[in-house]
């Protein structure tokens, strides 16, 4: 006959083990918390959309632990909103708020920023909102070069917001692996702003270090163009 096994030392030590392990789990919980949430919760302020909708969506996302899933579902709602002609009367006033909320829930979903910024800038001509949305996207996704290009394009399109794109372009162009197109955009922007010396420096560098004949020819032509402007004695801000 098999004897009933002893309850063992674990139960005897349980009154000591429980508090020790409880403190240990609290310690690891706090450490993991700092890792999983390096920055504290931050919600974009809503201006045009119903605050109750935003709060409810955030609550559902956080309580169920499915921010990305709720973000994807809400994103479909945003697309439906933009696709609905009934909202043309208000010029899609809630679009920016909707994109901000969708990006709060799903900050790594690049399409929110590209779609939202394109619609806001090139269709609705709300360049400031488009730039703010893209700045948020770039902060959350520093490696997403598409967003930087788009911010630069919006700055170029909106002549009064060229200031937005220069710091972004300078940072990107200073990288060793900066795409040549980006460097060219920076040089053209300097020229547009009337910063000819900065533009000349970039084109000279391109003329000297350009890895194809085409790039060196373009650089040479641009230098001629700028020197002609300076020679004509009418340099200045070409905006």
């Amino acid at each position: 006959m098999t004897a009933v096994p002893a309850k063992g030392w674990v139960l005897q030590w349980a009154p000591w083990l429980i508090p020790v392990l409880f403190v240990l789990q609290a310690f690891f919980s706090s450490r993991l918390e700092n890792w999983i949430h390096p920055t504290s919760f931050e919600a974009s302020p809503v201006q045009r959309m119903d605050k109750r909708v935003a709060s409810t969506l955030r609550a559902v996302a956080y309580v169920t632990g499915n921010k990305v899933l709720v973000g994807h579902l809400f994103w479909i709602g945003v697309i439906q909103y933009y696709g609905n002609d009934d909202n043309a009367g208000t010029r899609w006033a809630k679009l920016y708020d909707y994109c901000c909320l969708a990006s709060d829930l799903n900050p790594q979903f690049i399409s929110i920023y590209t779609f939202g910024a394109n619609a806001l800038a090139f269709h609705l001509k709300r360049y400031d909102q488009a730039a703010q949305l893209l700045a948020k996207g770039i902060k959350a996704n520093p490696e997403a070069i598409r967003l930087k290009y788009l911010l630069a394009a919006i700055g170029f399109q909106s002549s009064d917001r060229v200031d937005l794109m220069i710091p972004v372009l300078e940072e990107e162009a200073s990288r060793p692996d900066a795409p040549p197109l980006l460097v060219n955009i920076l040089a053209n922007t300097y020229e547009k702003m009337g910063r000819y010396e900065d533009a000349i420096q970039i084109w000279k560098k391109q003329l000297k270090e350009g890895d194809t004949d085409e790039k060196r020819i373009v650089a040479g032509q641009k230098l001629q163009e700028i020197y002609a402007i300076l020679k004509s004695g009418k340099p200045g801000n070409r905006r």
Binding site: V4, A26, L32, I76
Partner: protein, 258 residues
């Protein structure tokens, strides 16, 4: 050890026979349908959306199996007194509890990993895409979350006095466990001291399920996942589960089955 393993096998078979794998089948169909619908309606990377949905679906399927399993086994074990058959054998109540936990966890793992294979298969072979390494890490973290919740659920079963109670306790633990991640933020807000004390208590007592929630950060370029993080996650899962297991065991020892 063999006693625990026999009970694990028994629990595994019991759950499989109670058609728990249908949950897996239903979720696969629901997931594929939802992903297909979203890919038509949405704007963005279809495969990215599909993988996000897949991970959310895996978690939901695992939780569904856990809650349904807890309800089904409470009925047979506690109300129909099947627990007598186990405890009449040379088995401690701690071994009984551990065997049940491992059996539950095996079935849940089967469902979660099965769904993961479907998602990876569809992404690679149908979508022609690639699965990021973080996806596999997320699945392992999901399994850790499921293990912690299984221990909590089985402890509720040992403590609880009704099936509805056990399911409801587990249900609210899952929801509040995800909110624990935001408690630190809530503590910085202007709240009364009483509320803050209550929040702190909740923060330390409930499982911090956000610690295992990698699925929301699958594409986060700022996420660092090295040995140190793995170590913390494993030690947290182990220490929390062990505390809850001991509480469940002590309660089971004190329980008088009539």
């Amino acid at each position: 050890m063999s006693r625990i393993l026999s009970l694990t096998t028994f629990t595994f078979r019991e759950l499989i026979r109670s058609n728990m794998l249908f949950v897996w089948l239903v979720w696969v169909v629901v997931l594929c349908g939802l992903a297909f619908l979203l890919s038509i309606l949405s704007f963005g990377s279809i495969l990215e959306i599909f993988m996000d949905l897949g991970l959310a679906g895996m978690e939901m399927a695992g939780l569904m199996v856990l809650l349904l399993g807890l309800a089904a086994t409470y009925n047979t074990e506690m109300e129909q007194k099947a627990v007598f058959l186990h405890l009449a054998k040379p088995l401690t109540r701690g071994e009984y509890l551990l065997g049940r936990i491992l059996g539950f966890f095996l079935v849940i793992s089967l469902v979660v990993v099965g769904m993961g294979l479907v998602v990876v298969g569809l992404v690679v072979f149908v979508g022609g895409g690639t699965v990021p390494a973080m996806f596999y890490n997320s699945v392992v973290f999901l399994l850790l979350e499921m293990f912690v919740l299984t221990v909590v659920g089985m402890t509720y079963q040992a403590i609880g006095t009704s099936m509805a109670g056990v399911v409801l306790y587990s249900f609210f633990t899952i929801f509040l466990g995800h909110l624990v991640g935001e408690v630190e933020w809530l503590l910085t807000q202007q709240l009364s001291n009483g509320v803050k004390d209550m929040l702190k208590t909740v923060y330390y007592i409930l499982p911090n399920l956000e610690a295992f929630n990698l699925k929301d950060r699958l594409y986060d370029p700022n996420l660092v996942l090295g040995w140190a993080q793995w170590q913390d996650a494993l030690l947290y899962a182990f220490s929390y589960s062990f505390v809850v297991f001991l509480i469940g065991w002590i309660n089971l020892e004190k329980k008088e089955f009539r």
